[in-house]
């Protein structure tokens, strides 16, 4: 204890842990309180998780690209309508000493004919030079060679079922052909990308095939330019340099900014953020009501005992401290199960919906703060009841 005198002194001068005993000696009430707090916490975890997960789902494809910086047209506001810009700009970027490689990408929507029932549906087509790097995942590299033949596509096996049993048929060894934009294409292989907000399904093809399927695309125009930097280069610095060098007909984003701009589009153009934040707010309010009820009745039930303590010479602040500590304990005890169950439910949601819902430290902290505010706020309200503890009335 000599090396930690302050802790030793605190330990020596500790008192009966009244708040803890008040809570634990009434196990039923404690269980109800914890169930309420945990429920509120789980609700907040789920709502905020869904919200963030849905926004994350809007950049499923964006995340896959092997790029440090990207070029897009300033007229592009979201992935559902990408505008084109001159491919020359991307080649110009190659002049920067720290730019190691570039990949021009075409990006547009096409009508895909379901090979089974012949219904058509909009699918996202991504075109690139089969020898260029496209995705971070190296497994695409081998499959890309299949695209050197004309009118071949790689089909996203995670696309929604409405596009037809393409993946199943393909794995069965059948030749899967479909009509895209009025032209016949053959599925040369499968990739796993995943649907996003804007696109229910995806296919990858060579730029040559892409331009055949979409003959209206102006020659030398691309929708997306991927830029890879040499190791150790600071993307922000190169980004600034490119901004100064390139004409204003392109926007230079870091990959992160590219994802954020897409998320921002969905945030501002849909009510998703509002709805789920509201849901989390409901959880907060429900939790507040429960904790307040519990603490208020706890204080009321023990009013004569609090008055006795005041008669013994305990100051009012000591009693306020007891109620405050009860709130703090409830917050901590209630948060743990909420965190655990939240983790479990996230795993369940991930496996059931393919939505990228994951626990992250920010959300864990946000929910804990909400629970803390909920419990301490309720404790502060319940403290007002202590004003009714009159030591003169207990004789």
């Amino acid at each position: 204890m000599s090396e930690l005198p302050a802790v030793g002194l605190l330990w020596r001068s500790r008192k009966i842990p009244l708040a803890w005993l008040l809570l634990t000696r009434q196990p039923v009430r404690l269980a109800v309180a914890l169930a309420g707090i945990s429920f509120a916490g789980i609700l907040m975890f789920m709502q905020l998780g869904f919200r963030d997960g849905l926004f994350d789902a809007s950049v499923t494809i964006h995340k896959l690209f092997d790029a440090d910086l990207v070029l897009i047209s300033p007229r592009t506001i979201s992935s559902i309508s990408m505008s084109g810009f001159p491919r020359r700009r991307l080649v110009q970027a190659l002049g920067d000493p720290e730019v190691k490689g570039i990949t021009p990408v075409n990006w547009n929507f096409l009508l895909w004919r379901n090979p089974q029932n012949k219904s058509t549906r909009s699918i996202l087509a991504i075109g690139f030079e089969p020898n260029d790097p496209l995705f971070l995942d190296p497994s695409l590299k081998a499959k890309a060679q299949l695209l050197t033949q004309r009118d071949r596509v790689l089909f996203d096996e995670l696309s929604r079922d409405e596009f037809g049993p393409v993946a199943t048929w393909f794995r069965e060894g059948r030749t899967v052909e479909s009509e895209v934009g009025g032209k016949r294409v053959r599925v040369a292989g499968l990739v796993g990308l995943g649907p996003s907000f804007g696109a229910d399904g995806n296919l990858i093809t060579s730029r040559e095939t892409f331009l055949r399927l979409l003959p209206d695309t102006p020659a030398g125009s691309i929708e997306l330019g991927l830029i890879r930097l040499s190791p150790g280069a600071d993307p922000a610095v190169v980004q600034q340099r490119l901004r100064n060098q390139l004409p204003k007909d392109v926007t230079v984003f870091t990959k992160k900014e590219f994802e954020e701009s897409e998320k921002d589009y969905w945030r501002s153009s849909t009510a998703i953020g509002f709805i789920f934040t509201l849901g989390a707010g409901m959880g907060f309010v429900v939790g507040c009501v429960i904790v307040y009820q519990i603490l208020y009745s706890d204080v009321s039930d023990h009013l004569p005992e609090y008055a006795t303590l005041m008669a013994m010479g305990y100051p009012l602040t000591a009693l306020l401290g007891v109620v405050g500590r009860e709130g703090l304990l409830l917050a901590m005890l209630g948060y743990l199960p909420a965190y655990g169950v939240g983790q479990g439910l996230y795993a369940l949601v991930r496996s059931a919906t393919k939505l990228p819902v994951e626990m992250n430290s920010t959300r864990a902290l946000v929910v804990f703060s909400m629970i803390l505010v909920m419990c301490m706020g309720s404790a502060a309200m319940a403290m007002r009841r202590l004003a009714d503890a009159d030591p003169a009335e207990i004789f």
């Binding site: 330990w11 009244l18 000696r25 005992e305 006795t308 008669a311 013994m312 010479g313």
Partner: protein, 259 residues
């Protein structure tokens, strides 16, 4: 009872509230000094006087019993002495400190040195006997947790409950609970003990035991006692008996001894 926690009797009585003037020169300063104390309840039309010019002086170590018919103002007197109510008129000096016009905080400070035993035991239901008593000794400054706990145990042994340390009030009999309450009151080393009908909820035998115990322990701590009681069988423990009627004190005939 040699092992009883010692009463840190370094008292600072009569620390200059100008009250020393009222006691005769050379005499020990009284523990409690009431002069012309009046008290009213209610407002306006309903205002009713319950204490009428009460004069009372209790000396250190003295055991004073207060009796009188129901509603005559005994409890009111006790709450005023204990600093639980604001003094309205007259002078109340406890341990040399004038209580008239004193702040909440000063009265709360003073209460640390006054033990109180209530008609109901008023133990904390969620604490064991030992923890209840320690709520009293926790008020003592400068002692380690262990020392305060050991004192609490000593007190419980002193009131004969050494075997019931870990029991909740729920599992104790009425007399046992009242003895825990006595231990709790004494654990804070009070110089003054106020008790309001401590035997009311007890049968005559355990009532007698509790009062004897109270008196003996108070004696050992040289602690003054002001006890309200209706119980005629325990009047003999008093050094002095004071009777109250309609808010006035009159010194009882049998044990007359006041200045």
């Amino acid at each position: 009872m040699a092992a009883l926690p010692s009463n840190g009797n370094g008292t600072e009585q009569g620390d200059g509230n100008g009250n020393g003037a009222s006691s005769p020169p050379g005499a020990v300063a009284p523990m409690v000094d009431l002069q012309e104390l009046c008290h009213w309840y209610g407002e306006g039309e309903m205002r009713r006087q319950v204490l009428q010019r009460v004069d009372l002086r209790i000396h250190p170590g003295e055991v004073v019993l207060l009796t009188g018919p129901s509603g005559c103002g005994k409890t009111t007197l006790l709450t005023l002495v204990g600093g639980l109510r604001q003094v309205q008129q007259g002078r109340v000096t406890v341990m040399g400190k004038a209580l008239e016009g004193s702040s909440r905080r000063r009265r709360q400070q003073l209460r640390r040195h006054i033990g109180m035993i209530f008609q109901g035991h008023n133990l904390l239901r969620c604490l064991t006997a030992e923890q209840n008593v320690q709520m009293g000794s926790d008020l003592l400054p400068g002692l380690s947790y262990r020392a305060r706990r050991d004192q609490a145990r000593e007190w419980l042994r002193a009131v004969g409950l050494g075997d019931h340390l870990g029991k909740l009030p729920h599992d104790l009999s009425g007399g046992q609970k009242q003895r825990v309450a006595i231990a709790r009151a004494l654990a804070a080393h009070p110089k003054l003990l106020l008790a309001d009908e401590p035997t009311a909820a007890l049968d005559s035998r355990s009532g007698r035991e509790v009062v004897d115990l109270l008196k003996r322990l108070a004696r050992e701590q040289s602690c003054a006692v002001l006890m309200v009681t209706h119980d005629p069988r325990i009047l003999d423990v008093a050094d002095r008996l004071v009777e109250m009627e309609d808010g006035r004190l009159r010194v009882a005939p049998p044990l007359l001894a006041t200045s």
